[in-house]
Symmetry: C2
Subunit: 481 residues, 2 copies
Amino acid sequence: MTEVEETRRESEASRGDFQEVIDLLRKHQLVEQVVHRQDMPRHDLVEQLVHKQHLAELQKKLDAMHPADVARLLEALPLNQRLLVWDLVKAERDGEILLEVSDAVRESLIQSMDEAELRAAAQTLDTDELADLAPDLPPQVIEEVMLSLPAEERARLQSALSYAEDSVGALMDFDIITVREDVKLEVVMRYLRRLDEFPDQTDKLFVVDRTGTLKGVLPIKRLLLHDPATVVKDVMEQDIVTLRPEDKARDAASAFERYDLVTAPVVSADNKIVGRLTVDAVVDYIRERSEAEVLGLGGLEEEEDLFAPVIKSVKNRWAWLAINLVTAFIASRVIGIFEGTIAQLTALAALMPIVAGIGGNSGNQTITMIVRALALGQITRENAKKLFLKEIAVALVNGVIWGAVVGLFAFAIYHSVSLGVVMMAAMILNLLLAAVMGVLIPLIRYRLGADPAAGSSVMITAITDSGGFFIFLGLATLFLT
Amino acid sequence: MTEVEETRRESEASRGDFQEVIDLLRKHQLVEQVVHRQDMPRHDLVEQLVHKQHLAELQKKLDAMHPADVARLLEALPLNQRLLVWDLVKAERDGEILLEVSDAVRESLIQSMDEAELRAAAQTLDTDELADLAPDLPPQVIEEVMLSLPAEERARLQSALSYAEDSVGALMDFDIITVREDVKLEVVMRYLRRLDEFPDQTDKLFVVDRTGTLKGVLPIKRLLLHDPATVVKDVMEQDIVTLRPEDKARDAASAFERYDLVTAPVVSADNKIVGRLTVDAVVDYIRERSEAEVLGLGGLEEEEDLFAPVIKSVKNRWAWLAINLVTAFIASRVIGIFEGTIAQLTALAALMPIVAGIGGNSGNQTITMIVRALALGQITRENAKKLFLKEIAVALVNGVIWGAVVGLFAFAIYHSVSLGVVMMAAMILNLLLAAVMGVLIPLIRYRLGADPAAGSSVMITAITDSGGFFIFLGLATLFLT
């Protein structure tokens, strides 16, 4: 009991470990500073001893940590401390930790290693893991590692590398246990007992014939529940979800979610088993996708190493700022057209950002909803029209309500009824524009085969900004001057 | 082989099923329209026959669909068709389908059912599923169902209902198989064979003593690999991740992700087993969280039923628009201060949205990065300062580059060097403001125990808007007029 409790406490306290390591690093740094500042030979020995002691303590801590936790720690450290810790990690753990860190941090770690170290790290990995790491390794390292592999594994690695990044093939592994359909369960049990390795996450064995063709699956559950004298064929499941290596990872993830799968067989076009997809790979994929989505919405191209050099961070944020600058220039020129009107009535300059801003917010709400519905496959030709009309109705209601509010605001400050009315009319029209474009942009992008989410937010904001300025200042030019 | 292939095709073709059902619904609707329009008694019988035929076909399709797929279909249908399909679903499947649909759609389905139907649906569910559904059911239904439960299950349901929504307690289930540590594996095997039910996703058995205290876990893998004569105690794992019902679901999900878990035991403070958490619940949780995050960023309070009545949709978007309206009013008043300056130089009105807009984008980039780092636990007291300085540096570099671009833009259009210089200076200052606030807002919210993500984007945009207008128009007032 106490053992279990202690384990629990430890696993819970990974945050505590975290802090301890960081404290050790600070002590270490203090020592370094002292050594540096005083630089007196007779002190050196003492300082070096303290220094070594700290490193030894740090190494012990690191050895006890799960690779995923070491990875998290590395991500949280500034570059100099990160490389210090990385040096202390045992070489045989390098591979699994490299797999766990984010792409950006992985790059910084790989840069600090020479080819021999990289080769050694790569050689500790399974074929499917190697395939994940390969794009970040120098080509000559990959080549050498590949030559050192047995023919079968080399073929697997090559095929794994050939699949698109977001395909099932890129996520699958090769840890499959296959059995024949005409044997008894007790034979299967004996066979399993003779295996040296039983892959993690195995909830089913794959039933194949002599040619490797998938005939069904034998859930471990059935293996355990049925009489050992039963034949596999009589208890195997045939109503199963199978995947193809070229299937989209997104669709596979959605199948795992809907059908509560732990593993699923991956088969070729002629139904031969080629690998399996496991739920842990799916969980990682879902996380990464959702993070990429949030980063994209925030205007970052990819996840950023917290302590990346300034120039790298600038580059990561470049594209988004450049695009937004162009749309801002356009909006600015739209306003420029009406400078004469603004000169006559400067109140317009103060009021115009309200119309544009609320239009942008409203448009983004519509787009978010449509993009989500598209991702869930909920939009059909039949209901698209209904949806469109509904969004128009929502925009009208919102337009009248918020239009009245901003109209009153304008009237309260500038004491002009006509200004208030123009403001309200502009608000209604811009919200209608936002609704129409908020439905059309993602639907058209989807129909054209593009990702409906990416860039939709920038486009709608550009339209409701320029559109809002044009509508408001245009109405003002017509009716107020 | 063909059987497996067919299964695959079917599972793949759930989209096709989807379309078929929708086609059937359209046919059905056409019939209804015909009946309505002609309204001649002698036609009635024929029409009714066609009508019935369609419904029977539809029902057959629905019966063959997985509950998760029916749920997805219901979400994609407008209200009248949704209720028609819902009526056709077999009553004993109501419960599991209600669990799968989104909250908003669940509400619309529950509203269409009477108490007896709801009671019947609830009674088909396990305790943990019932707890998930309970918040949406009328109180008297819950009460009656509770009274009909055996004492043990009632106690479980009550405790499950007492946990916070985002806690492990709310996600766990009670499908645990426990064994004693002093028995042989062959005894465990025999015991399993006698069970009527073997819970899905079971990858380990829980080893407990007479009092229910967790002593360790017996992975199915070890049960299969070791000699049947081995005693559980000798092969059980004690180095395990355990959870408490009151642990945060977010932390549990992160543990599942890092340690590739399929299930984990949930124990009370005195280490007694109370339930287990499974990876399918974790996958659902991760999906829901990430969807909520994306919806929040888009300005929707919660997931919206695509075909919700207009008034409901308006309400769902209300809060965000209201908040943004307030910030827009403030920005408007900031501009109002400088109306005199604008009257002298209307170019300012056209240029000011550029400064505000780019500042907002840049601030959102910083906030997105900091919020992600906070969520991953990567920010410590030590590195916060480093991060802060880095963001300032990035803002300076961006400010000089983009400031020069917009300065040149202003000069090119208005042929005024001083206007260009003011524009550039305002851009640099606003990007610095964005960086400072982009780091401070989430960090302060986090320190205060608030969710660093929620609302951060609105706040930074409000600050960079009002701040950008103030900086730019203020500089212009000082140096250009």
